[in-house]
Amino acid sequence: MSEELNVSCARPIGSEVDQGIDDSFVIEGAEASKAKKEETTMIMVGRKAPDFSAPGYHDGKFVNVKLSDFQGKWVVLCFYPGDFTFV
């Protein structure tokens, strides 16, 4: 489900996993990046959740987790402002 990370001083960060954009029509240059930006900021119920990978802590280990590794399971993805906060 998740690969264990080798810990070093570098701090790994999360990122989008490219899902192969439908290129049935091709837009060049600035327009292409604008179109991609609009596409990636569209979150809607009934649509695919954007795939990502992110480092994390689980069960005493540092791991790398990819959303698509959970295919076939229900996932509740929660964001929150910060560790050691109050709510």
Binding site: R47, H58, L77, Y80
Partner: protein, 133 residues
């Protein structure tokens, strides 16, 4: 998932959360330094440099079935998230033949959408059911 590093997650889990939950947090605590993933999901507050309280229910096909986003000072209702999850799981198991009306909880009646139900919801579902515990 928050912008904190996985090292801070470890300390928070060991020093505080394990005192609230036996054995600590049972699921992965993910790090989103820079808010890249949060930006992707529309919940990263660029000015404050933190994620807002976004919660997404994602089904086994990777499809978002529901989400909720709150500003930081108000905490979530976990029971409501679980209720929604149970409702989505039931709908999936019934392959869409049933629907959960307002106020539905596990064990309560579902609706069977179809021509016969048009104009007849008032007979099978009462407003009180929306507010029942």
């Amino acid at each position: 998932m928050s912008v904190d590093s996985m090292f801070v997650h470890k300390m928070w889990d060991e020093e505080e959360l394990s005192k609230m939950v036996d054995g600590g947090i049972p699921f992965p605590m993910l790090s989103d330094a820079g808010g890249r993933v949060g930006t992707l999901y529309g919940v990263y507050d660029n000015e404050a440099g933190v994620e807002t309280r976004g919660r997404f229910i994602i089904d086994p096909d990777g499809v978002i079935q529901g989400y909720e986003v709150l500003t930081p000072p108000v905490g979530r209702n976990v029971a409501e998230s679980l209720r929604q999850l149970q409702a989505f799981q039931l709908i999936r198991a019934k392959k869409g033949a049933e629907a959960t009306p307002s106020g539905w909880k596990p064990g309560k009646a579902t609706l069977r959408p179809g021509p016969d139900l048009v104009g007849k919801v008032w007979e099978v579902w009462k407003v009180d059911q929306a507010f029942e515990d």
